[in-house]
Assembly symmetry: C2
Homo-oligomer: 191 residues x 2
Amino acid sequence: MQMLRETILELGYVLPGNILNANAFLNHQLNTQLLVQIGRAFAGHFNRLGVTKILTIETSGIAVAVTTGIELRVPVVFARTTPTPTIGSDHYSASAYSYTKQVRHEVIVARKFIQPQDRVLIVDDFLARGEAVAALASIISQASAILVGIGIIIEKAFQDGGEKIRAAGHEVFSLAKIKSLSPPNRIEFVD
Amino acid sequence: MQMLRETILELGYVLPGNILNANAFLNHQLNTQLLVQIGRAFAGHFNRLGVTKILTIETSGIAVAVTTGIELRVPVVFARTTPTPTIGSDHYSASAYSYTKQVRHEVIVARKFIQPQDRVLIVDDFLARGEAVAALASIISQASAILVGIGIIIEKAFQDGGEKIRAAGHEVFSLAKIKSLSPPNRIEFVD
């Protein structure tokens, strides 16, 4: 996706620890027109699969889940990673380690929002080690729903998350695949 | 806004402590088509004011900020309330107490994303005591930018946030104003 690659090269920069700082367009400031294009790309790709619900994880997955959900005309559910008094005790949970924030999260979704008949599309901003996607996939499995695919904006192809998820039989559709990152601003894409 | 009121009455329910649980459409599961309508309503109302940026606060403000930003064709900035290693030290901050979660947050926005020439529209899901809006308004003021108005999905009109912000000279545009809440599901609107 050309617009995405250009934005990454123009506004992204690299921090030590293989972190791509996308705060100028994806993780703190949001380029809304880019997000519309990304939502359209995900919707176009997964349209054929009868998606009934989009699942993502707070915080940075919410924006792209919304633009994808608008296009596919389905609701979004965002998993919580911080306790909130309104979610109640009747929920699915799974555990995910964030390498960026160096903390382990409990990932929580209220049971009533994922039903066995749901065909769920996971979307997220980044895929690196695959911890967040694995936790969301576990929740879909706990709900006896069907995971139809995973839409990722930026995949760090030099880390093993994508490989692990594809090896588990899931389709991962990534709009930008990064081959290598070197501080402060060397960003190399796959092909 | 009729569609919003109907959704609140159908899917909202009331928890002790004047909490309106909107998890079925706004705070955990997101009704994307409703969010599009809300974004259009905010954009229609504030269109005349030359908005250059939308400011909200993670987590639940992000979705509506995105749909409003799409309509107004401007970027969104969402303030962080949890520390994140990518945001750096060059930021504005203000403090806000969350009555729902009963914790005090530090509200953080990187300086480069709010400039003195910006005309900023604040949007958020709920307005109750006005703590989050006051923190965001403080950040806009620290940045020497202009706060052009505040768009709120659900205002708890029986609490003093709206009154305080209007008394400070700001325009608050609320799509649903609630007069009273009684558990488990008595929800009364203003007028």
